[in-house]
Each structure stands twice: as structure tokens, then as C-alpha cells.
């Protein structure tokens, strides 16, 4: 299982990659995609939707269940990765490239985990 060192993580297994102080892209960690299994559908927010830390921002569907994706930060959805709508399997194939959405005006960075902290967190699960 890969944990990229260039980004931060949440305890609900989303990754956050800051482009600048107030803009971040969000995706699912390698651990998350491997636990979910083969994804068949992803339901993304719309541009302009509010993102609230800890609340649902998207959902992903595997063969047997739909799981919520929780926003790791607060802000406003600036862009979504529309490519995933047709090819959700990219989340399984390359979780750290398959970003779900980009959030601007980010607040609430506290409580995010570094790669080392996330690795320890996952090891304890």
C-alpha cells in the first residue's frame, strides 16, 4: 500500500494536496480504494457547492455498497474531475492521480495527518 509523502490525509481516508495556501485537491487514499474494492460509479459535487469539513462531498459505489466521501477541509468546490464519471476505475488504478474535486477558499486544515501519521493510523486499524 502506497502513502504519498507530498500530501496530507484525513482519518476517513481522503488525501489533500495543497496547490497553494487556500486551494487543495481531494482524493481517496490507496488504503481506501483497496478496502472499497472495484468502484463502478462515482457521484461528484457540482462546481460552486460548499464543502464542509467532515461532511459528505461525494460518494463512491462499489459492486455492493455506496460509501460517502467526507470533505477533509472546508471551502467551495472549484472544479471536479469529470473524467471519473466515465472511468471510476481510475480511482482503483491510480488513487493519487484520480482526484475527485478541487476546493478553493480552504479553511479547517487543522487535524489533518501527515503521511507518517496516516501510516501509523492505518497500521493501527
Amino acid at each position: 500500500m502506497e502513502i504519498k509523502k507530498d500530501r496530507l490525509y484525513s482519518q476517513s481516508h481522503e488525501w489533500v494536496l495543497f496547490e497553494d495556501d487556500t486551494t487543495a485537491t481531494v482524493g481517496l487514499s490507496d488504503y481506501a480504494q483497496s478496502e472499497l474494492g472495484d468502484l463502478v460509479f462515482v457521484n461528484l459535487p457540482q462546481e460552486g457547492d460548499p464543502a464542509v469539513k467532515g461532511e459528505t462531498i461525494a460518494d463512491v459505489e462499489s459492486v455492493k455498497a455506496v460509501s460517502d466521501v467526507f470533505s477533509p477541509v472546508s471551502g467551495t468546490v472549484q472544479a471536479i474531475n469529470e473524467e471519473l464519471l466515465d472511468t471510476p476505475e481510475k480511482i482503483n488504478q491510480a488513487p493519487y492521480d484520480a482526484w475527485l474535486c478541487r476546493i478553493k477558499d480552504v479553511t479547517g486544515k487543522d487535524g489533518l495527518l501527515t503521511a507518517e501519521e496516516y501510516e501509523a493510523f492505518v497500521a493501527g486499524l
Binding site: F41, E61, V63, V66
Partner: protein, 440 residues
Amino acid sequence: MGHYLPHTDAQREAMLDALGLTDTQELFADIPGSVLLDHPVNLAPGLSQMEALAAMKALAAGNKSYRLTLRGAGCYDHFIPSVVTRVAAKEEFVTAYTPYQAEMSQGILQSIFEFQSLMCELTQMDVSNASVYDGASAATEAAVMCRERKRRVALVSATVHPDTIATLRTYCYGTGDEVRVIPAQDGLTDRAALEGMLTEDAACLIVQQPNFYGLLEDVCGLFARAKEAGVKGVLSVNPMTLALLPGGKEVGADIVCGDAQPFGLPMAFGGPSLGFMTTTNALMRKLPGRIVGQTTDPAGRRAFVLTLQAREQHIRREKSSSNICTNQALCALTAGVYLTCLGERGIRAVAENCLSKAHYLAKALCEIKGVALRYPGEFFHEFVTVLPVDARKIQDVLEEKGVLSGLPLEDGTMLWCVTEKALRSDLDQVAAWVKEVCEA
């Protein structure tokens, strides 16, 4: 009648013992005394089969049966071939409840799969669900499918069946969404009024074909305009008309729904009915209720499964968008048998018969002084006439003759319906009776 309760006294005692109780009543100890019945339920001891049959026959004798029905308004009197009733009454179908241990019940899943396939073919859409309660709930569930975070308003034409609009209002009351009714002009959806109502918060446009007054709406034009405004098109259709009219995608519908009661189900005092819903691949995951898919088992054999269930309430709990958790399995099976028996040509023949017989009666009635079509539009098998006398008077006179008249509407007009069951001689006779009343 015999005792059909499955547990013996000994079994009940064993269960109570296991629970450490002495009396069944102790199971209800947590219920406050104020809401408990303080005396035994007053139930008669039961009847012998002969007595029960006699009692039921006496009750049935109180029903009024008409030899001819000229009333539709959402529930239609079509001929049901004997083979349809016979096949649907097979015990293994009658007793099969909507499957919970789904894949164990390959037979009932296959019957639902066949129904879905037939509905997809008829409505010319990609995906069908296993059915819902009735046409009103189907249209309302369709509106729920279209709801988005920023689009929470359901636009519904005033020409849609009043029961459908009422059901829609009930649902939207619960979710806090809004229903806006597009006014009618000459019995049709008012195109000009629609223009101002296609706002950015509108989610869907619900149009009924033929509409409540029996008239054919310009659904292509209405849905095309809605689509430009980002509003989804919901076509609530009498499926019998699809034998003659273009299918869902051709008219620009995102969802096709309606009541499939005309397909082999008796009017039966208004139910049970059969709601159907079909949609595009794009909206497939929002389709509520059960969906049966075809696959192969590990040995490569054809098999059926419930599919696309991941958003249903037993998995998504409070996050599911629909509370539909069952379907009208036996009614869907009946409709499937009906469609299979009649085939494409048979369905078209029934629809053409309805169309021409309704126009025959309309013409005959309009030859009576003071009787005329209320609206100028084209119609299928229902039409509204103005009358020179109280509509209820015509209803009463026809009732004496064993004929259920058209439905008296609030404005004093009458909504007539003619199906293939009416003979030309019946219709001539009805026109003569109406003429007598009108010219008396």
C-alpha cells in the same frame, strides 16, 4: 374455517420458557397501560367454509356491476384474455412475495426481468425497475429522481391526473420541496405560461400523455424547451398509447412512467394497480426500487440477480432518496403475460380499436343538440363533452340501463372513455339514451 396459525401451544410455551416469561402478555410490558386495550378483542369465533363463502357471496352481491363502462380517468376497462388470468393465477406466482432472499427465487426474478424488458421495449428507454405501487407514485418517484441540490422544484402540468398532483404534493411536503402547477389552456399544458416557469431551481417537468382530459400533448415541444433550461422531462403515459405513439427517447423524455393497469389488470374497484418507471442509462442509478439484471452463474448458466441496489434504503439507510422497498410483483407478472399474449400486433390492434371507437362515440354524441367537444385538441380514447343538462342526470339514466357513464367533472362537463370492449351497437344505444335525456 380451520386454524392456520402455525404455532402449537407447546411451541409457544417453549418460546416463553426460553425468554423466562410465563404469559405472552408480558412481551408487551413496556407499552404504557394508557394505550393498551383493557379487554380482549371482540372477535367472533369464526365461520365454517360454507358459512364464510355464503357471507362473501352476500357481500359481493351488493356490488354494482355494469355491462358497459364508459369511464376511465386513470383506470381502464380492457378485455383480459382468459389465458392471462389463468397463468397469473398459478399458485406459485400468487404466493410468491417480492423476493427477500432474492437470488433463491430465480422464477420470480425472471418474471420481473421479462416485465422490465417488455417495458423498456414499449417505452423505448434503456432501463426499467421492477414496478412501483401505481401511476401516481411512479410519477412522483420520477420527480424525486430529478431532484438536485440547486433544483428542488417540480413543475407539473395542470392537465396531469389530480391524484398524481396530490401524491406529488404529499411527497414534496415531506421533503420541503416545491410543486409548481403549469396552468392549462384549452385543456392542454399552457406553453406560454411554461416559458416563465423554467427557472434555475426547476428540476423536472411532468407531462401526462394523453392528459387527464384525454388530449394529446405536444410532449416533444414541451420537453425540448425544458431541456434547454436544464429541466428534465418526465413523461407520465398510458402505456397502451405507446403502441401508436413514439417512445420516450424520441419525445425527449428522461423518465417514462405511468400505470400499466390497462395491461391485463381488472379495474377491481380501483386497485391494485401497477406503476412502471423506465429511464436512460444516465439516470439508472437514481431509479428507485428493485431492478433485476441478467448474468451468468459460475457454471455459465443464465441467472437473474437484483442489481443496482447499493443506493436502496436497506444499504444507504437515511441517505437513500426513496422509501420504495417493494414492487407489484404479481401485477407486473400479469402485465408481462398480457403483453406476451397480445404481442406487438395485438397491442396495436387494441389501441387502434380504442382510438376509433372513442372517436365514433364522440361523433355520435356531438350530433346531439347542445353536446359538443369541450376542447379542440386531438384525443386518444378519452374526451370531454359539454352537455345541455346536468351531467349527473346522464349518469343516473345510464346507470339504470347498466352503463357506467363518463366521469362528471367539476365544471359540469363529462369525461368519457371508450375501450375495445364497447360494440358499435352499444355506442349507438348510449348515444340514443343521451339524446333522449338531452332533448327531453
